[in-house]
Amino acid sequence: MFFRESGVFHTTYQRDMALYPMPITKFAVAAFAVLFVGVLPFSMHEYYVSIVNLVLIAVVGALGLNILVGYTGQISIGHGAFMSVGAYTAANLIVRLDMPFWVAVPAGGAMAALIGAVVGIPSLRIKGLYLAIATLAAQLIIEWTINHVPWISGGVQASIEVPRPRLFGYVLNSQRDLYFFLLAFATVAIVATLNLVRSRIGRAFIAIRDQDIAAEIIGINIFRYKLLAFAISSFYAGVTGVLYTYYLGIANYEQFQIVVSIDYLAMIIIGGLGSVLGSIFGAIFVTLLPIVIRLFMESFGSLLFDPKDVLNLIPMLRLILFGALIIVFLVLEPEGLDRLWRNIRNYFRVWPFSY
């Protein structure tokens, strides 16, 4: 936020690393809470709420992937599959055992964490592109397994219909209800990540990312922390899958294909690797950009082209613009939207007395 931190001096490491580095941050957080809980959902049309819902789901997934890729430096192209693991675990629990969401969500996450940790084993030996291919294999294996084992997938259609989440007998089924449901999980995910990265575990992750041999020499158990990174990251992915399942009312493996893994990677790269705020920016950017481009094209496209052609052009131009804008933003600031935001903030922090 834009504020001057004059008069605030941190004298201990604890103070310096606190969640609220300055008194004013508390007010900022409170203001955001009021905005998201009290103002936003009630002032927007349900359609816009539904877009925010998609963003909230994406935020959880992007945070999880960022823990692995951004903080620990291990790459994964298998996160779409981990989401499907969470989705199908939860769907089976909900349908067969009639579990409530507060069991299904963590259970889906836990199962994904388990599978994720197994998939993470090759990371102990291989790095970079090689690891990417290993996780790609996981994506394909998990997809195939879900697709072909009716016990998991619930039949030929490989889709399980799931009832809406209930809270004390109240069924959350409108977009607004689901907004609060998703907001709660997104908030927990954000706070948990913020805390994780400033804990011992988070610092170990960062040490491994920066130089794993050095990290081992200073006493970090590489085996444990790499697998832990995979497990935690997959847990987030699994939760994303469960949230998605609840949001759509169905678990379907076609919603978690490799394209999804790539989309999430795009989110964190555009948003900023190794940054919580960057994950949020990335999730917002990738989810909203196509919608914004379309709205823009719908309003102005017919002025430049024949109306019949516009229908053909909108989707094409949207893809081209989407790609072009991603390139523009990355050229503008290779470290992502988060860095861009910090640059702007730093500029205004000393404005107009910049030197």
Partner: protein, 416 residues
């Protein structure tokens, strides 16, 4: 130049506002909104780029003739790139704009939207794809397959094979070559049941996505299994590959019948042209060709605007399917407006409208559909067209087969 561009944009913005205002005023004049999801850029663009124009053209034709019961139909189209989140977003947008019917596109999409559509009481159509069990109108009140589901296509394919083999399939060998995804596997239970009923041996071969490599499967079917007839249920690029491969090993293509999504002009052309695919049988749930009276009317309409006939006519299979969807939507709206002449119809009215559709054939363009509150499929009629002498030639009239097997499948699928 920059100046002129800026002026153009400014003028455009002004015009846009003027249009929005005019549109607002126009909306008070009677209008019914329909949402159409489309895929012109994603995995199934080969279908979408012809299907969606067909839809628009038919609606434009209806509007040019004064609309439906004094109401104009406004179509909102959103391309979702065959991605589910985009599809959900599109659906919410349609809902916001007050759409009474949503034309859903894609099997994962109709599945993801089933619950929402039912909650919001907006009928969604899934012609020729989606969950076959949705034919049961009592279990899925707001889902309308309105064309042969994969189950009906399966029974029709077996019936066709039976007729081609001289009226009996006893001890014959039938190969089912399918795309390895949920939509591809859906006909399996019905086919297995039919194998018992008709006494033929069936073996299945899965083609893993993206389905451009099936040499091994085809060799196995033709050389080892020595199939008497092949049922092909493939999507996207893979139908053309199957034609090529079967042709290469010398299997007679007249002993192959493809389900509805491997049956377009584009598939034949991609397989090496009409001469190469001679004999290939295709299953259709809408008329084929652009010689129907409704096409003549569309050409007339274009002529009035001083334009040539739409280029999508060349891909008549998918174009006509788009028209079929539009016809069904228009008729549902017509029935709804007849019941509620004052206008202001809702999704519920449109649902009731769908359930009264009967006997709209447009001179053979449409199957003799009859949608009821119980049967949302409308009978599940198909036609077989064969590739012959450079075009699709009709070999059967509208037919359906084995209703008892379909009824059993529906019953087995229902939750216990």
């Amino acid at each position: 130049m920059t100046g002129s561009f800026a002026r153009r944009v400014l003028a455009g913005a002004g015009l846009g506002i003027a249009l929005t205002v005019a549109g607002g005023a126009f909306a008070q004049q009677k209008e019914v909104v329909v949402g159409l999801q489309c895929d012109r850029t994603g995995a199934t663009q080969i279908v979408g780029t012809s299907l969606c124009p067909g839809y628009h053209d038919y609606v434009a034709l209806v509007n040019s003739k004064g609309g439906v019961e004094g109401h104009k139909i406004k179509v909102l189209e959103i391309d979702h790139e065959y991605k589910v989140p985009q599809g959900m977003e599109a659906y919410e947008r349609f809902k916001k704009e007050g759409a009474v019917i949503v034309g859903v596109y894609g099997t994962p999409h109709i599945q993801a939207m089933t619950q929402k559509l039912t909650e919001d009481k907006i009928p969604g159509t899934s012609p020729g794809f989606g969950t076959a069990a949705a034919a049961d109108g009592q279990r899925y009140p707001y889902i309308f397959p309105i064309a042969a589901t994969y189950w009906s296509q399966g029974t029709a394919a077996v019936k066709f094979a039976k007729d081609q083999m001289g009226g009996s399939l006893k001890d014959k060998k039938i190969a089912f070559l399918f795309y390895d995804n949920p939509a591809g596997r859906e006909p399996l239970p019905v086919l297995e049941e039919l194998a018992k009923v008709e006494g033929f041996t069936m073996q299945t071969w899965a083609v893993p996505p993206p389905g451009v490599e099936m040499g091994a499967q085809v060799l196995d079917i033709t050389q080892r299994f020595r199939a008497d007839f092949v049922l092909a249920h493939l999507f996207g690029r893979s139908p053309s590959v199957s034609i090529k491969e079967l042709k290469r090993v010398g299997f007679p293509l007249r002993k192959v019948v493809s389900f509805v999504w491997g049956s377009g002009e584009a598939d034949i052309e991609a397989a090496g042209g009409w001469a190469a695919a001679e004999g290939y049988n295709t299953m259709q749930f809408a008329g084929v060709g652009s010689e129907y009276p409704v096409h003549k009317q569309i050409v007339e309409m274009y002529k009035k605007d001083g334009k040539p006939a739409p280029k999508e006519f060349a891909s008549s299979v998918y174009y006509n399917r788009g028209m079929l969807i539009a016809v069904m939507h228009v008729e549902a709206i017509r029935n709804a407006l007849k019941a509620k002449p004052g206008g202001g119809i809702t999704g519920e009215d449109a649902k009731a409208g769908f359930e009264k559709i009967k006997g709209i054939t447009l001179d053979g363009f449409m199957p003799p559909l009859e949608v009821t509150a119980k049967d949302h499929e409308g009978g599940g009629y198909v036609q077989i067209f064969q590739v012959k002498g450079g075009k699709f030639e009709k070999t059967t009239d509208w037919f359906r087969a084995y209703p008892e097997v379909l009824a059993k499948a529906l019953k087995d699928h229902a939750p216990k």
